[in-house]
Symmetry: D2
Subunit: 339 residues, 4 copies
């Protein structure tokens, strides 16, 4: 379905070549400072055309708030915001009306839905992730009011075969955004850039990984059994099209998974900030693996696809994690326990 969350809920809509995409956030309390500029700044971090590393499509992605905000504060009512599709160039896609794009989900979608918009990906386009960024930004505005010391930062940790090494404390989004790769490891990021550009030139593509690090979570955040923090994070990140794996724990977790328990548990942070499904007060660390994008040679050459989706996906992962946290914080508020 197109809604995420139980109490702090994001509903999204829109096809890549329809009139508009949009988000409705239900469950944000009243009195949270929120402006159009905050949403626009977040969308600008995700949009195409930011650097040579990503697609040259130049969509301005201008956001408009339709409801839920008055005098720059939330009203406690649903917040709706939309982005109109301006750069549709649907004539590029006319040829696609009768052919499915190899490597894409077109055939599967057609078999299921019978009737589809053949112009681009429609609802399966990565363009839907802008709706997640809108929702996540509102979640962050809310969390900034109620958990001011919370910090959620994602960064590119692997491109192709190149793996970054990023020391834990004090990472900021500004440090991540300082390089077009969104990898904060100065030792590898320039080489990452070169490989992405080479792939672009060759009509090829690269995958890798993004890490998300969250500091300042309330101890006990998460719901037992099926609503465990790690289960909801897995669903949240697993719902992103290109993600093909999610691992909770320190960056070297998969290297150490074969160790006996006495060694495995000997290091601090063995749990990645989660025990028994609940936040344990340590920084939470999660890694999402990304497949290299499927490529359509002629289109890729036209420069309209991303050779490496990850630099633009960083704010999308932050958004999804923030949505999970906002929802769980409200669950925690809902039921004060006593001894």
């Amino acid at each position: 379905m197109n809604t995420f969350g139980t109490l702090f809920r994001l509903t999204t809509f829109g096809e890549s070549h329809g009139p508009a995409l949009g988000s409705v956030i239900d469950g944000c309390p009243a009195g949270v400072p929120l402006t159009r500029d905050m949403l626009q700044a977040a969308l600008d971090r995700r949009r195409p055309g930011q650097s040579a590393l990503v697609t040259a499509r130049n969509e301005p992605d201008t956001v408009e708030i339709l409801s839920g905000v008055f005098e720059d504060k939330t009203l406690g009512t649903p917040i709706a915001a939309i982005v109109r599709n301006t750069n549709q160039r649907s004539q590029d896609y006319n040829q696609l009306a009768t052919v499915d794009r190899p490597g894409h989900a077109d055939a599967v979608w057609r078999e299921r839905y019978k009737h589809r918009d053949h112009r681009g990906g429609g609802r399966t386009s990565g363009r839907e992730t802008l709706c997640r960024v809108i929702g996540g930004t509102i979640a962050e505005a809310y969390l900034a009011r109620d958990l001011p010391s919370l910090s959620t930062v994602a960064y590119v940790s692997q491109v192709g075969e190149l793996v970054a090494s990023v020391p834990a404390p004090g990472l900021t989004r500004a440090m991540v955004d300082a390089h077009a790769t969104r990898c904060p490891d100065a030792a590898v990021r320039d080489e990452m850039s070169r490989r992405i550009l080479a792939a672009k030139e060759a009509g090829d593509s690269l995958g890798g990984a993004i890490d998300v690090r969250v500091e300042g979570l309330p101890v006990g955040l998460g719901e037992p059994i099926f609503g465990k923090l790690k289960a909801l994070i897995a669903q949240a990140l697993g719902s992103i099209g290109a993600v093909t794996g999610v691992v909770w724990g320190p960056p070297d977790l998969l290297q150490r998974i074969g160790q006996p328990g006495t060694q495995f548990h000997a290091v601090k942070d063995a749990y990645g900030g989660i025990q028994g499904g609940l936040a344990n007060g340590e920084p939470m660390q999660v890694r999402a693996f990304f497949k290299p994008p499927a490529t359509l040679a002629d289109h890729a050459k036209g420069g309209r696809h991303d050779p490496c989706i990850m630099p633009r996906a960083v704010p999308v992962l932050e958004a999804m994690v923030s949505l999970v946290i906002a929802d769980l914080v409200q669950q925690l508020n809902a039921r004060p326990h006593s001894a």
Copy 2:
């Protein structure tokens, strides 16, 4: 929360040292053949004491059906089934009333809930997974009626550093159950056994991985955006306590994640049976990574904990995947599309 699913829903309850654990399945249609023996056989695959590889606790885990079944067929009403806790030995745990077990979630749970049952893990005990097996078995009974060619088989694919190689087609549960490790790879499984026994002897533990392979999924299964097949599978498996990572795709996916797209997508099955979030008609393949269990030396020596949880977790993963499929099949039924 303690409910999983939207249409085919499992609600579970019970603490490891309370009177009983149980499951309520809501949304199973009427007329599905279901007997107590079917549930008992499934629980017997999960219970302790099956072999030297797992904990020696000898809980018979006898199941009783309380509702929803009449003359060996479901009624379309909620199916409730319980297992009473008989081997509570709570005196073993009296000493735990005041100390938290290192490596366990006791301290986090206490901070959140204030009041807790100090006898063993309570609700965080792995014993809750028997409720999932009950639910999953009912899901499988339902799917057997409506999708008779569906096959869901999980198997141990890694123990410590040892990685199995399992050719895809034709794997059955009987083949998996034929060895105490539940690894079907004859080349490594005896060595896996030896290492588990050595860990047990040393008061140590081992993690690794379990793979789940599903054949016969309807093309298009899954819901767009947040209800993608892979997102729900991630939540389902990520909700299991010891799981620390979930990867969709062929067994060698993480070895190949660094390849350029032209290579990565060149092999058949590069998608692990999922495209655009929906089943594409190919076998679905998923891997869950398991941390080695936290050990309590003295307890482990007493033989009351599992040195390697994975052989017993195999039916739990099958159950969770079956629950996801049953729910999504009903979503697919709910809305016939037209051209």
Copy 3:
């Protein structure tokens, strides 16, 4: 919350003096014929300024579809549609910034939400019901494809002390719309008109009742226990601001509630089409009672409020009932039962 339904789901947003109101429908299958004109025609039945009986506010309520429709058919993706607020005249409301309107929920809302839009009712304005009409019209388009013989018709059955008598079979919306009161009983409707106009003149208001009659429901529609057809209808109609009571059964039900069972059950249709919570194949009949609107003398004199909300509420009730039916039809589809 601002979402209604489980499978066929309506999410609404918008304040009466914000930029726009809107609806998102999730769960409508692909291939359903749907055009902007269908939505506009439905909104025109609800909008102000249709006759002397209702408010003179002249809001055109022009609807725009943002997603989910392609070449005049639904895509199976979320359908979003908005109506911009054009006739805001918020200067009329400036005086309200510091005073709560007597008889309105302003004080309660302020106490709960702290921050509110003082310009008119904000989210509590009856204007939000246009979002329900959008959702209900999409539900009807869907039901027209799958249950072509279904008919849902609401009509005004009481205005002040005047009670209509409307014979059951063959009632159509055209017959209802033929008179400005939306009462099909020629014996009382002119007098109803006169009384509404007199109330308007006097700065007063009138309540009464609306009946909804549904023919062609599938036998067995409804879910057991908490999802009974009558329970969901009660929630659906009870969620409309001015509704103060809901009764299922024939129009004379409350007159006959004191009869002994042998008499009460002797008449055909004693059940109003519902038995055991499920549709029994007979026409379903429901009545909703409406309080007279709270009046603000000076505003009422300015002609900007409805002396009698019911003629305009008729399409709103039809919409809510259609949403319930669409949702339950999908529940019925989801699980084929067998003997």
Copy 4:
């Protein structure tokens, strides 16, 4: 479906002639005092055989708690409780295997579910309401901790043609339970008794009404639009089998519905404690109308059915209202608003 509520959730199961009925409450916080005796006392108020006015079936309805409670306090985990069916006498029903009981939902249920338990009502039996009483009692235990001044009292306000008059303040459950009719109006209750006994003698039945009065609700309780307090109360009461109408407001509301607004709104309490869908701080007052039970002459003569269900339904209505309040209180907790 068989679950009620969003945060404080009741799931029920069980058929009238199966092994057991039961309830699972999810979302009750830890540390709430709760004992088996509290549940048993609540069930004893609902059970058959309490007086000559109700069915002579003598089911002890002994409750057992299976989980969620430790040392007489809740654990914050799901609370499961069951009641075994002991007095099944299913031989009485053997004749029913092939005939549907006139006036009952048997035929509708059979058409929908194909396979059913022909012994008595199965899942449609009024016996399922004991599960609601279990859930409601837990809700009340929770509310007693967090809202100690809250009072929820239901009483019989009409039997057949006899209507009670009950002054508002200070009504207690003890005052209601003091008479077998559960009507606190001394002027009519003895006559009510006589008419119920006469109906019983004649193999006939009587309906009427129950009022529920709630004092001490937090101002602002309820969720906007579809989650209005009155909408959820309507669903909650409308989900009870015999209820055929729900009216919010003072007891004379339907007598005054025809008044012009200036008169209607002139009295205090015109809103029944609800404005804009939210509690306004005044006592909430709701009335539910009950159909006379369908009768099966020979069975009624055997004394196994209730000639008037209402005295036993009083605790069921209190339970449903308490469940709604518990859920909405958690929603209110979840999101602190600011100016």
